[in-house]
C-alpha cells in the first residue's frame, strides 16, 4: 500500500507543493485524489528533502489544501503500448476515449524515451512521395526526416497534413505503414476534420490518435507528444512499421511549457519562454529517424502556427534549428486562392540531396529543382520591380520570367486537395513551364536532360 500524504502546503497555477514527504524521486508519477474521489495525475518537478514540487497535468481546479490526498507512485510516467493501439483514439494522456476496450499492453515504456545513439542511426535516404509538387519536387521528404509545417492562423495546414498522411508512400514498397496523430490544444473542428478525413479514406485503421483539445487540461499537452512518440517508437522499431507522426499544434505545446515555467517563477528567456525550450523541443523532435539494421522508421511532421506569421518568433525559430528543414505556408498565396500555399523559396528540406536522383526519383530531379527555384526567384524579383516601376519598365526577358512565376504558382504549386501527382508528373510539369523560357536562360539544367525532357516550344 502506497503512503498517502495530506500535506499540500501550496497550490499555484498547475503546481502543488507537498510537505513532509519521504523517498520522493525526481520525475516520479504522482496521483492526487480530491475529496470527491476524482484522481488527477502529475509529475515531480523538484524533489527536496521533506518536500516535493508537483506539476499536475489536469490542472489544480477544485483542489483543497486539507482534503486532497497525494500518492507518489514510485515510477516515471509510462505508457502501455501494443499493436492493438492501431485504429484507436486516446486522450492526451493515453487513455482510450473511443469507447473501445482497454488496451492490454505488450510492454510499458517510459514516455520520455532515451536519446538515440548517433552511431546507431541510419541516414534517411528513401524518398517519400506525398503527391504534392511543392513538397516532392522542391522540398522532398525522406523516411526518418522531421519536416515541420510553419503555418499561420487561418492557413490550410490541416488540409495539407491530411493530404500528406493520405497520399504518402515510398514507391515500389509495400511495407507496413502507420499514422500517429497527436493533437495539442487544437479546436474540436480541426480535430474532427482529421478524424473524419482519416475515416473517409480508411486511414483510421492504421492510425493512432491522441487528442488533447483546446478545452482539455493545458498541462496535459506536455505529455501528449511524448505519448505519441513512445507509441511511434514501439511501432517503428519493435513492430517494423513506417510511422508518420503528425504533431499539431506545437505552438500550444510551447505555451503550456511557458505556463509551467512562469508558475515556477523561472528566469525567462526570449519572449517569456523558458531558457530550456530548445532542449525540451529537441527531446520531442529528435525522436525521429531510422536505426541501422531495423526495418521501421519514424517520420515527423510537426505543425506550428507562427504568431503573426513571424518566422523569427522563438517557437518557429528554435524548431527550425532542430528540424531538418521546414515547409512554410504563405498567406499571400493563400489569399490569391492557391492551394497548397507553399512558399517554395523559403521552404527547405535538408535531407533532399540523399533522397533524390536516379533510382530514387528521376535523374533530372536536382536540375529541375535548381532551375525552377532560380527561375521562380527571378520571376518574383521581376514582379516586385513591376510593382514599383510598372510592367513596361521590365526587359523582355524579365517579362518572360514574370509570366513564368505566375504560371509556376498556378500550374505547379497549385493542385487539388485530392490530386495525387506522381513525381514524374510533377517533374514533367516543371519542364513544361521551363519550355516557356529562353533556352539560354536554363543554366542549371544539363544539356543531356534538356534534350531528353524539355518539350519543344509551344508544345
Amino acid at each position: 500500500m502506497l503512503k498517502e500524504y495530506r500535506t499540500i502546503s501550496e497550490v499555484s497555477g498547475p503546481l502543488v507543493m507537498v510537505e513532509q514527504v519521504d523517498q520522493v524521486k525526481f520525475d516520479e508519477l504522482v496521483e492526487v485524489e480530491l475529496a470527491a474521489g476524482e484522481i488527477r495525475r502529475g509529475r515531480v518537478l523538484e524533489a527536496s528533502e521533506g518536500r516535493a514540487l508537483v506539476q499536475l497535468f489536469e490542472g489544480t481546479t477544485g483542489i483543497d489544501i486539507q482534503g486532497a490526498r497525494v500518492r507518489f507512485l514510485g515510477k516515471v510516467i509510462e505508457l502501455g503500448v501494443s499493436g492493438e493501439m492501431l485504429g484507436r483514439v486516446f486522450d492526451g494522456f493515453g487513455r482510450p476515449i473511443d469507447g473501445g476496450p482497454k488496451i492490454i499492453p505488450e510492454t510499458r515504456l517510459d514516455i520520455n524515451g532515451n536519446p538515440l545513439n548517433p552511431t546507431a542511426r541510419a541516414y534517411p535516404s528513401e524518398f517519400i512521395q506525398t503527391g504534392i509538387s511543392g513538397i516532392d519536387c522542391m522540398n522532398p521528404l525522406v523516411r526518418g526526416q522531421k519536416l515541420p509545417i510553419f503555418s499561420g492562423a487561418g492557413l490550410p495546414h490541416p488540409q495539407i497534413a491530411a493530404q500528406v498522411a493520405r497520399q504518402a508512400k515510398v514507391r515500389g514498397t509495400h511495407d507496413p505503414f502507420a499514422v500517429i496523430f497527436a493533437a495539442m490544444g487544437i479546436t474540436f473542428e480541426e480535430a474532427d476534420y482529421f478524424i473524419s478525413d482519416f475515416t473517409r479514406t480508411g486511414a483510421v485503421e492504421r492510425s493512432v490518435l491522441f487528442i488533447n483539445l483546446a478545452d482539455d487540461p493545458v498541462i496535459e499537452r506536455l505529455a501528449t507528444p511524448r505519448m505519441a512518440l513512445t507509441t511511434a517508437e514501439y511501432l517503428a522499431f519493435e513492430k517494423g512499421m513506417h510511422v508518420l507522426v503528425i504533431l499539431t499544434d506545437m505552438t500550444n505545446y510551447c505555451e503550456a511549457m511557458r505556463e509551467v515555467s512562469a508558475a515556477r517563477k523561472e528566469v525567462p528567456g526570449r519572449r517569456g519562454y523558458p531558457g530550456y525550450m530548445y532542449t525540451d523541443l529537441a527531446l520531442v523532435y529528435e525522436r525521429a529517424g531510422r536505426i541501422r539494421g531495423k526495418p521501421g522508421s519514424i517520420t515527423q511532421m510537426p505543425i506550428l502556427t507562427m504568431p503573426e506569421d513571424d518566422k523569427t518568433h522563438p517557437i518557429p525559430d528554435l524548431t527550425g534549428y532542430i528540424t531538418e528543414g521546414q515547409v512554410i505556408l504563405s498567406r499571400e498565396l493563400h489569399n490569391r486562392g492557391i492551394y497548397p500555399p507553399i512558399n517554395v523559396s523559403q521552404s527547405l528540406s535538408r535531407l533532399k540531396d540523399k533522397g533524390i536522383g536516379p533510382q530514387k526519383t528521376r535523374e533530372d530531379h536536382a536540375d529541375v529543382l535548381n532551375q525552377l527555384s532560380a527561375a521562380y526567384d527571378r520571376g518574383k524579383e521581376a514582379r516586385e520591380l513591376a510593382v514599383v516601376l510598372g510592367e513596361a519598365a521590365l526587359t523582355p526577358v524579365d517579362r518572360e520570367f514574370l509570366r513564368f512565376a505566375d504560371q509556376f504558382e498556378q500550374r505547379f504549386v497549385r493542385q487539388g486537395e485530392d490530386e495525387d501527382r506522381s513525381i514524374e508528373t510533377t517533374l514533367d510539369i516543371g519542364w513544361q513551364l521551363m519550355a516557356a523560357l529562353p533556352r539560354t536562360e536554363l543554366k542549371r539544367v544539363s544539356d543531356k536532360h534538356m534534350q531528353k525532357y524539355l518539350p519543344a516550344a509551344g508544345a
Partner: protein, 585 residues
Amino acid sequence: MAGRVVKVAGPLVIAEDVPGVKMYDVVRVGEQRLIGEVIELRGRRASVQVYEETSGLGPGETVVSTGSPLSVELGPGLMSSIYDGIQRPLDAISREAGEYVTRGIEVPGLDRSRRWEFVPAVDRGQKVAAGDVLGTVQETPLVVLRVPVPPGVREATVAEIRSGSFTVEETVAVLESDGKTQEVSMLQRWPVRRPRPVGRKLAPEVPLTTGQRVIDTFFPIAKGGTACIPGPFGSGKTVVQHQLSKWADADIIVFIGCGERGNEMTDVLLEFPELKDPKSGRPLMERTVLVANTSNMPVAAREASIYTGITIAEYYRDMGYDVALMADSTSRWAEALREISGRLEEMPGEEGYPAYLGSRAAEFYERSGRVVCLGSARQQGSLSIVGAVSPPGGDLSEPVTQATLRIVKVFWGLDDRLAQRKHFPAINWLLSYSLYTSRLDPAYAEQYGADFPGNRARAMATLQEEAELEEIVRLVGVDALSDRQRLTLETAKSIREDFLYQSAFHEVDTYCSMDKQARLLRLILGFHDQALAALEAGAPLEALLELPVRERIARARYTPEDELARLDTLAQEIATQVGQTRARA
C-alpha cells in the same frame, strides 16, 4: 563515507556533507552512479550538474566525490573516435547498451585492451623535460602520435625506455628525477577546464587555407586564429563547417557537434570515412575526432563537450600539429550554461544568460593560437577555432553573438536571403570581415602573385559599388546607368556567380586551391579591364557582354586542379575576343 542528495531539479542536484569535495570535482550521484560535476559550494552544500538524465533520483541517495576534476584521457586511440560530451565512446556505448544512450554506463575514453606499436625516440640516460617526445605510435595511417613527457616534469633522466607493443596503461618509460622514479605510460589525463601549457604563443601569420573561395580570398583565417559563423537556421552553417573540416589544410580536425541534430552527426559518421584527404588520398576520418552531444542528450554534458573537444585538440597541437577545431554550435553551449545558471538561481544578465557568458566564451577562444610547443625540439603547432553561432531569429545583437564577436578575429556572416537565392556559401560579403588579411597578405602576394591583394581589394570595391548601383536601379531603372556602370554591374555579378558562389556538392568545385582562386579572380577582373578599355574605344556594351568567352569564364571554376593551364589559354581567348570586338568598333 558519502554525502547525500537533498534536492533534485532537472540536471541540478544539491548534495550535503560530501567528504573532501572541491570545486569542479567529478562526483558520482545515486545508486546508478550518475556522473556529475561540482559547480558551486556553499557551506555544507554542493551544487552538482549531472551529465546524465536524473529522473528517478531522489533525496537521501548517496553522493561520492572522485577527488579529481573532469578530465579526458589522452593517448593513442583518440583519432577516428566519436565521443559523447564527456568522452565516452559512442560506439562502445552502443555495443554495451544498444541503440539508445541509457544511463550509468561507464566506458573509458581509450580502449584498454588495444595494443599499440611504440617506437622509442629517446635513449637511456638522456635528459628530458615536459613536452619532449618519448616515442611515437602510428595511430592511424595519417597520424603519428608523439608520446610526450607529461606536463609538469621539469627535468628528468630516462632510466628505462621500452620498445614493442603496449596497451595505453602499460609502462613504456621510467623517468628519474631527484632520486624519485616515475613510470610513464602512453595514457595521460588532463582536466578539461585547464588549458594545456605551451612554450610561447606566436603571431598568426600563416594562412589556414580552406579551399573555399569566399573564405580564402576575401575573409581568410590564419593558423591559430579564431572565426565565428553566425547565421539563422537554413543559411548553411553546418555545410560550411563540414566543408572546412573536409578541406582545411590542417593535420587534425576536431569536430564538436554541440546540441545539434542526431542525423547530422550520423551524416558526418557515414561521410567522413568515405571522403578522401586531398593530400594523402586516405579517408578523412583517420585524422578526425568527433565529439557528439546531440540536442536530445543531457544538457550538462553539452556544456562540457566543447571543453572535452578543445583539450583533445590541444593535445595534438602540443605534438606540433596544425589542428582545426569546429564547434557547432556554441549557442547551444551558451544555452546549457544559461539553463544551469537559472537552476542555480543566479542573477541573470541579458536574456537570462549568466553575466559570466562573455568571460567563459573568451576563455574558450583564447585556447587557440599558433605556438611553440613545450619540449627541447621547439616544434610549432597551431590550434584554430571556428565556432558556429545560432542567433535566435537571425538577430546578431543577441548576447551569444555579441560575446563571440568581441573575441574572434574573423566573422563570416551568413545571410538567409542569400541562402534563399541559393547563393552558397551564403556568406554576406558586405557584412563579413577578417582581421588577419593584412598579416597574411605578404604570404599571399609571394605565393600567388603580387597582384593578389590588389585584386581582392578591387573585387571588394566592385561589390560595394554594385550595392550602391542596385539602389539606383531599384529607384529609377537600369536605363539610368551609364555603360561603364552597367559593365561594373556585370562584373560584380560575375564575381558573385562565378567566384563567390561555390557548390559544396560538385566534385571539382567543392575544393578550390589558392592558385586557382588567384587565377579565377584575375580572369574576371582581366575581362573587366579589357572590356572597359574596349568600351571607351567605342565598342558597344551589348557586343562585349555577348562574347562567348564570358560563358567560359563562368565555367572556369569547374576546371580540375591538374588542368589549370587551361585557364591561361582562356586569358588569351579573352584578349583575342575583346580585341576583335574593339577592332570592329
